[in-house]
């Protein structure tokens, strides 16, 4: 469901029921549960920001299922001419399961980005991200600092 008000507040929410059955089920692969997400965002003269949270299932990389619960905040601003500035913070709680592999992990992520419109068609972006993965399994925790410089063309 989407709801938008004249004050530039918007709400989006959804949910449902998830059921997975595997034709060659490994241990604990099948599941029945719910999924739900919600997002509230606001546009102001100087910035746009949003807060979202959800619970969902995806296919795993090491096991059949990846279940995540997340909360995320993001803000962007185009108040400065030619610039787009942004930041985001997120925390995800995840469990990968189905088969012999099972892992619980948490990962907070912080990102900062600055985009500059060089020309009518050209844009450049500088992004910094910090990611920390904290796993309950040995040798599977890590952290990373990442700086990305991008160049974009669009017409």
């Amino acid at each position: 469901m989407d709801l938008k008000t004249q004050s530039k507040l918007s709400f989006r929410a959804g949910g449902g029921y998830d059921r997975a059955r595997y034709d060659a089920p490994a241990e604990s692969s099948d599941f029945e549960t719910y999924y739900a997400y919600g997002r509230v965002s606001q546009e102001t003269r100087l910035f746009t920001h949003s807060l979202s949270a959800g619970h969902e299932h995806q296919l795993g990389d090491n096991a059949n299922n990846l279940e995540t619960t997340y909360i995320r905040y993001a803000i962007t601003s185009s108040a400065l001419q030619h610039w787009e500035l942004g930041a985001n913070v997120a925390v995800l709680f995840a469990e990968e399961f189905g088969g012999t592999f099972r892992e619980h992990f948490t990962y907070p992520l912080v990102g900062l980005r600055a985009g500059y419109q060089i020309h009518k068609y050209w844009r450049t972006d500088l992004v910094y991200e910090f990611l920390l993965k904290d796993s309950d399994l040995a040798l599977r925790s890590f952290y990373g600092n990442r700086v990305t410089l991008g160049l974009g063309f669009s017409f």
Partner: protein, 171 residues
């Protein structure tokens, strides 16, 4: 093309350099997942959108400059996962005033250039269908308390309800 029928190209290119683990540095520039060539065609109240979306990535993170992404490939003891991803398809929106019906079809090719992850190579067919119904709500729209000299501010709210989307796929 014309005022309403448009061809759009968005191409994002980047390079990632590892300061501590320079052995992971790649030789090729990366193509952002937001890169896309699209062609918009309007026929009456029907909007057709043909698109080709492509990317080449090497890190375990799902890169996207335009929006915050916080998922990654949960591999162990791996720093580089070279992969191509390509979506090609068409979307159609039929605007019936308050009711908008949408259908879409995409063909995806995911191809790993890292030999140990070739098992993830796949071709997928994506079918989507959705219906949106727009409702405008005017709470207390004509409410004026003349006696007290208060004029209630008219507020318009628009609500989209009954929007559902299904996306079955097979590989």
């Amino acid at each position: 093309m014309s005022e309403i029928n448009t061809l759009k190209l968005s191409l994002g290119v980047g390079y990632e350099y590892y300061l501590k683990n320079s052995v992971l540095n790649g030789d090729l520039p990366l193509v952002n997942p937001d890169s896309e060539l699209s062609f918009n065609i309007f026929v009456g109240n029907l909007h057709l959108r043909l698109h080709e979306k492509f990317s080449y990535q090497e890190t375990l993170l799902h890169n996207s400059i335009a929006s915050a992404q916080d998922s990654f490939f949960n591999f162990n003891n791996v720093g580089v996962f070279k992969r191509w991803d390509n979506f090609a398809g068409v979307n159609a929106d039929w605007d019936l005033n308050r009711l908008i019906l949408s259908v879409g079809y995409d063909h995806e090719n995911f191809d790993s250039s890292t030999p140990s992850y070739e098992y993830l190579n796949r071709a997928s067919e994506w079918l989507t269908a959705s219906a949106s119904f727009l409702i405008a709500i005017r709470p207390r729209s004509a409410l004026n308390h003349k006696g007290a000299g208060i004029s209630t501010k008219l507020r318009r709210h628009s609500m989209t309800i009954g929007k559902c989307e299904v996306a079955p796929s097979w590989t």
